[in-house]
């Protein structure tokens, strides 16, 4: 059982890390979710692995540690809330810039004198391909699992559009 749990945690962590290193927001979020799953199982295992034993002192001769369950519950709540926040953040960032790249593109925004604060509403030529990719991610990748992602994208046409019309 130890090997199984350890391998599961390791594999999930590795998957999470790999996804985290991608360049667009959706894989990063999925990677974060994997990572938080891994740490939840890890926290659960930190009180030692035991089967068929109650976490209550006095009822069984050798009770298991009840604390990790309390800790993992806290960790789940926090990581769940954070995932919801970062999904909204990624969606807002995508809608406002027309790109779901994680990079800041600071070189373009700062060096030119003419595109000041309003560089965003006017997507660069390559931003359309980025937004195309992003639509694919939000549509196909997350379709059935992320119900709130679809209404947000709902009114958008299937082809990439500049983001001027969006609030």
């Amino acid at each position: 059982m130890e090997l199984l749990v350890a391998a599961a945690i390791g594999l999930t962590t590795a998957t999470g890390l790999y996804m985290m290193l991608r360049g667009s927001t959706f894989p990063v979020i999925v990677g974060l979710t994997f990572l938080s799953y891994a740490v939840n199982v890890f926290l659960f295992a930190m009180g030692r692995l035991a089967a068929n034993r109650a976490p209550i002192v006095g009822t069984v001769p050798d009770p298991v540690d009840p604390l990790p369950q309390a800790l993992v519950l806290t960790a789940i709540v926090i990581s769940f809330g954070m995932t919801a926040l970062i999904v909204v953040l990624a969606l807002r960032g995508f809608l406002e810039t027309g790109s779901d790249a994680v990079d800041l593109d600071r070189g373009d925004a700062d060096d030119e004198d003419d595109d000041l604060d309003d560089a965003a509403p006017d997507p660069a030529p390559d931003a359309t391909t980025a937004s195309e990719r992003a639509i694919r991610f939000f549509r196909d990748g997350a379709g059935p699992d992320e119900p709130e992602a679809d209404p947000g994208r709902g009114p958008a046409p299937a082809r990439p559009v500049p983001s001027e019309g969006r609030p």
Partner: protein, 509 residues
């Protein structure tokens, strides 16, 4: 009297929902209530400082559970010092924000109060997992504050900031899990006892857990090479939020002192000295390369965190005094500069705070405040940065690598001064009215110099710097007592585990 210890957490925790539920649509009432609560927080912090000054650390057992089993709040001089610093900074920032920043988005004040709650909790808790929870409270509020005002650039920078901190939180959980699995405790004082008794076979696991934890705190403290998020995140945040975030980097330092200083004293120090030396170099180079005032200040923060880490890695009461003095100084000076960057950006219209000539004249008030804050921040005499630098230099004089660190500490100041001098001359002298400078395109907000209400907050912070300078003797005296208590690891463990009625110590054995 020990009941007072929980109040700095409870006060903002109750104020924030009150602001949302009772005053949700009345910004004016929210401002009054939020400023009142923050000033009360400061008063409470000062009271607690007086309380902590007279003896060993005091504890407050939540739910009255005995020490290693329940969660304890521990008030010692270090925690009280950080609380007072938080209170001073927060009071200035909330007044500054009430002059108009808080109207640019919703729920600034509730988020601000939640941030205070997280900060106070992180400073007071004596439990490693509870520290994680308060870190999260602090970070969740900081995500909201960071995004306050909206905008595409802020969203992008905010995503990076949130994602990075989520990874750090996950690492924190891995580390806490490892420590618990090896030692069977989460109480920091108990951890310090158990860490010495760990079986030889588990020692490697314990070290991995402690190292992971040090990495998380180093990331929060913007230690090079874990600093890269800061120059992206802080300039993108609104000015009051960035000013308040100055205390968040100090939370990383505080947690390193609290957990690693207590339980793993020899583990992190050599790494921290290296990270500090690198931070001095990277911050100085970044200050030369910065293209915006806020970015310049952010690299200045990386640079000042380098000095702090060098002081943190050194041992002895003198180093502790230098660390705390410089931490207080750099928090206030950095906050003043971030607020000024926000004011300059508002007055320069579409130019923002980018370091290009040709903006509207900003007037004498901001220029003088910028000069003073910069003198303080870069460590020029006569303001407190100079005294802080001298304290650090004295503290590391006996260090085997002292010569290298001295050279870096002194040498890296020059590029930072050059960076700030260049920024000041660009912003305040090369204005549209000056000879030979073309007026640059400015938006509708141009030609409105920063108002008095905006400058007042900066002025108070600069006056606080002057106060730190004039009262350097008494302040250093107080901080020396704090540093002595910080080094007294047995005293802390005794106070937490061996208190009257603390049956935990015997039971835990």
């Amino acid at each position: 009297m020990t009941g007072l210890i929980v109040l700095p957490i409870l006060l903002p925790a109750l104020t924030a929902p009150f602001l949302i539920l009772a005053l949700g649509y009345d910004l004016r009432a929210q401002r009054v209530a939020s400023i009142g609560a923050t000033v009360l927080f400061l008063a409470l912090a000062v009271t607690l400082y007086a309380l902590a000054g007279d003896g060993p650390p005091r504890t407050y057992r939540l739910g009255d559970w005995p020490a290693p089993f329940g969660i304890v709040l521990v008030l010692d001089r270090l925690a009280a010092t950080m609380l007072v610093l938080t209170g001073v900074l927060a009071s200035v920032v909330v007044v500054h924000a009430a002059a108009g920043w808080d109207a640019r988005g919703r729920h600034f004040h509730p988020l601000f109060q939640f941030q205070l709650m997280g900060l106070a909790g992180a400073f007071l808790t004596g439990d490693a997992f509870n520290l994680f929870v308060f870190f999260e409270v602090m970070l969740i509020a900081s995500y909201g504050l960071m995004l306050h005002g909206g905008g595409a650039e802020r969203m992008k920078a905010g995503f990076q900031y949130v994602a990075l901190n989520l990874v750090a939180s996950t690492l924190f959980l891995f580390a806490v899990g490892l420590l618990y699995a090896v030692t069977g405790t989460l109480n920091i004082a108990d951890l310090a006892v158990k860490a010495t008794q760990v079986a030889a076979g588990d020692r490697a696991l314990l070290t991995v857990g402690a190292a992971l934890l040090a990495m998380v705190f180093a990331l929060k403290a913007a230690a090079v090479p874990l600093h890269w998020w800061l120059p992206a995140a802080y300039p993108a945040a609104s000015a009051p939020a960035a000013a308040l975030f100055m205390i968040m980097t100090k939370v990383g330092i505080y947690a390193l002192i609290r957990i690693h200083g207590l339980a793993f004293p020899d583990l992190a120090a050599p790494w921290l000295a290296g990270a500090g030396a690198l931070g001095l170099v990277v911050g100085a180079v970044g200050a030369l390369a910065a293209r915006r005032l806020a970015e310049l200040v952010a690299y200045g923060v990386v640079w000042s965190m380098g000095s702090l880490l060098v002081a943190l890695a050194a041992s002895g009461a003198a180093a502790g005094t230098a660390l705390l003095y410089y931490a207080a100084h750099s928090t206030l000076a950095g906050a003043a500069l971030f607020l000024l960057a926000g004011l300059a950006a508002a007055a320069r219209g579409s130019l923002g705070d980018r370091l290009v000539p040709g903006g509207p004249p900003l007037g004498a008030g901001p220029a003088i405040l910028f000069l003073l804050a910069t003198i303080g921040f870069t460590g020029l005499p006569p303001l407190s940065g100079f005294i802080g630098k001298i304290l650090i230099l004295q503290a590391i004089a006996g260090d085997p690598h002292g010569a290298v660190l001295w050279a870096l500490l002194i040498g890296s100041s020059l590029p930072v001064i050059v960076g700030f001098a260049r920024a000041g001359s660009t912003l305040f002298w090369k204005t549209a009215g000056a000879e030979g400078v073309e007026p640059a395109g400015t938006g509708p907000a141009a030609l409105v110099p920063p108002g008095r209400s905006g400058l007042a907050g900066v002025a108070i912070l600069v006056i606080a710097l002057a106060g730190l300078t004039v009262l350097a003797g008494p302040v250093a005296h107080q901080l020396t007592a704090t540093a002595r208590q910080m080094a007294d690891r047995a005293g802390y463990v005794e106070a937490v585990l061996g208190e009257p009625g603390g049956r935990g110590r015997e039971a835990a054995r």
